[in-house]
Amino acid sequence: MARIVLDKVSKIFKGPKGEEVRAVNNVSLAIEDQEFLVLVGPSGCGKSTTLRMMAGLEEVSRGAISIDGKVVNDVEPKDRDLAMVFQNYALYPHMTVYENMAFGLKLRRYPRAEIDLRVSQAAEILGITPLLDRLPRALSGGQRQRVAVGRAIVRQPKAFLFDEPLSNLDAQMRVQMRMEISRLHQRLAATMVYVTHDQIEAMTMGDRIAVLKNGEVQQLAGPLELYRHPANLFVAGFIGAPPMNFFRGVLYGNSDGLHFCGNGSPAGIKVKLLPEQAAQLESRVDKPIILGLRPEDVHLATDSPRTANGSIVEAVVELIEPLGAETHFHLKTGQHGFICRMPPAEPGKPGQKVFVVLDLTKCHFFDPTTELSLTKPG
């Protein structure tokens, strides 16, 4: 199908006062053939603009976008042979489901029989055959979403672009459609670029994920790589729910080795670094630093025995969120709030004092100024 390459692509708008606003800044990406690439980030990070530039719906201000080696900056959208699924479905309101799916083929003058065949095959795959005569307004949100996907499929395009396609569905439907799109990717083996603000969608669907913020790619990696080795503070906080816990503090060294001490008084958290961490961070002694630890790497002391890698901290329970398969404890030590992810059966109530074990082998360290990760992937 298609390989899409973005080479130093920027999108520059004129702001209300005539100033330059860089919605997308110097983004370079190579989306491999048959890959499922997710662009994820908070609203306003430029992810949709990037996708729309690929589609040809926005002009590229700087840089080049190429499809299968051919620069397409000045190619009309219809000649790029991409299909897009829009956030609000963008179905033609006055056409039936059949007509919606057939429209693109009719414009390209496909023979009637071919159109019929393709539409009925796509409808079959998506389970919307009984809806072919309906108008979009007579469909539920999930059905409209399927029609929008169907309209993209029938064209058999080089690649599919999805612009937050699930954000208007309710929670249950979102989970279901997420799986259907993943299966579709396996089945069609097509290149897909998928924009979302939801890190769960990104993690579960993407072969690779580009995390965007302020128009710039923060990190581009596979889901687990992103989760385990976030390149900076933003990625660390954005990927994973509940988010990674951050403790602001300083490093100090004594005869015993390197220690992290939380800011504020009481500091709440004081831990001794492992030797390999100490080796990496020696140059940071007496400087401010941020320690990051995922909620699943924090354990209530009753649950897990004190280990050589652990460090015990006293904390107060602020809030308990039971999720059935697990329970989230919102804790506070000194000035530091943090979250601990526990098995469902863990007892406790707000206000209670608890001991927690921090799994130091899983620690991340970040520079507070550059926000970059200081720990190299082992």
Binding site: G56, L57, K78, F86, H94, Y98, A102, G104, L132, R151
Partner: protein, 276 residues
């Protein structure tokens, strides 16, 4: 508002309204069956109606109304739609053009009529002969278009603003050219606005008066029903025949409303079809 409050609120309004509807319409209907020439007012039955139906001047006037309707469909509605589609994008230049094309709508039609009257005056005006027998109706239609196309443009612009941007983008990706997008996406989605525009244009063609009166008061063959009506009332001082023409004109307006609504319902019914 409570149900009781609503009734108390609307009772006076409804009363005034009904008095204003019932009294004049009843009297007009009655008048149309009586002669009002002279002092006695004898009952003449459908005489005036029969007269109107056979009156060549009435035929000509009605024909002029219909011709005028066709011309204004072109110069007002179609032109307004073309302007709206052309000026759809919000740019500074387009905004200037929009204001320019709309501006005549705030002018008094009487002033427009007089001014063009001077312009077309034989021997004096800059463009004489535009109100000659053969051309007068077309000239007035063009002036109407000039004055009203901007108004229809505004209506259509409002309609186009309601066409979702992403639907147009989907059409672009589906391979629709600008022309195909217009005919197959925008136009069907402007349906409701087009009905309103047609309703205004159809009723407007029968309501027209001031331009014709000011520019063509002295021409017989370019009368429309409303100017004929006023001329007949003035000439014969005959309330009876005037009432008859008033009744006929009102029926014509209502008929055109009915035609538009009928067409709308027909289209609606046609919509519930299966796949092509």
């Amino acid at each position: 508002m409570t149900r009781r409050g609503q009734i108390l609120f609307f009772l006076p309004a409804l009363l005034v309204f009904l008095v204003f509807v019932l009294l004049p319409s009843t009297q007009t209907l009655i008048d149309s069956f009586y002669s009002h020439q002279g002092i006695k007012h004898p009952f003449v039955g459908t005489l005036y109606y029969r007269y109107a139906v056979t009156d060549p001047k009435f035929h000509q006037s009605l024909g002029n109304n219909l011709k005028y309707l066709l011309w204004t469909l072109l110069f007002e509605v179609a032109a307004g739609l073309a302007l709206a589609v052309g000026l759809e994008k919000n740019t500074r230049f387009n905004n200037f053009l929009r204001v320019a094309f709309f501006s005549p709508a705030v002018l008094s039609m009487v002033v427009v009529g007089l001014v063009f009257g001077f312009l077309f005056k034989d021997g004096v005006g800059v463009l004489p002969g535009m109100l000659n027998e053969g051309r007068a109706l077309l000239t007035i239609s063009v002036i109407s278009g000039w004055a009203s196309a901007g108004f229809f443009m505004v209506i259509f612009l409002a309609g186009l603003a309601n066409v979702p941007e992403d639907v147009l983008e989907a059409a672009r990706l589906d391979g629709a050219s600008a022309r195909q997008t217009f005919w197959r996406i925008k136009l069907p989605l402007l349906k409701e606005v087009i009905y309103v525009a047609l309703l205004i244009c159809f009723t407007g063609a029968f309501k027209a008066f001031d331009l014709f009166w000011v520019l063509l008061q002295n021409q017989e063959h370019t009368s429309i029903v409303s100017t004929l009506l006023v001329k007949e009332v003035i000439r014969f001082d005959n309330q009876g025949y005037g009432s008859t023409l008033a009744v006929i004109l009102t029926v014509l307006v209502l008929l055109s409303v009915a035609i538009i609504i009928g067409a709308k319902n027909l289209w609606r019914r046609g919509e519930r079809r299966g796949p092509l």
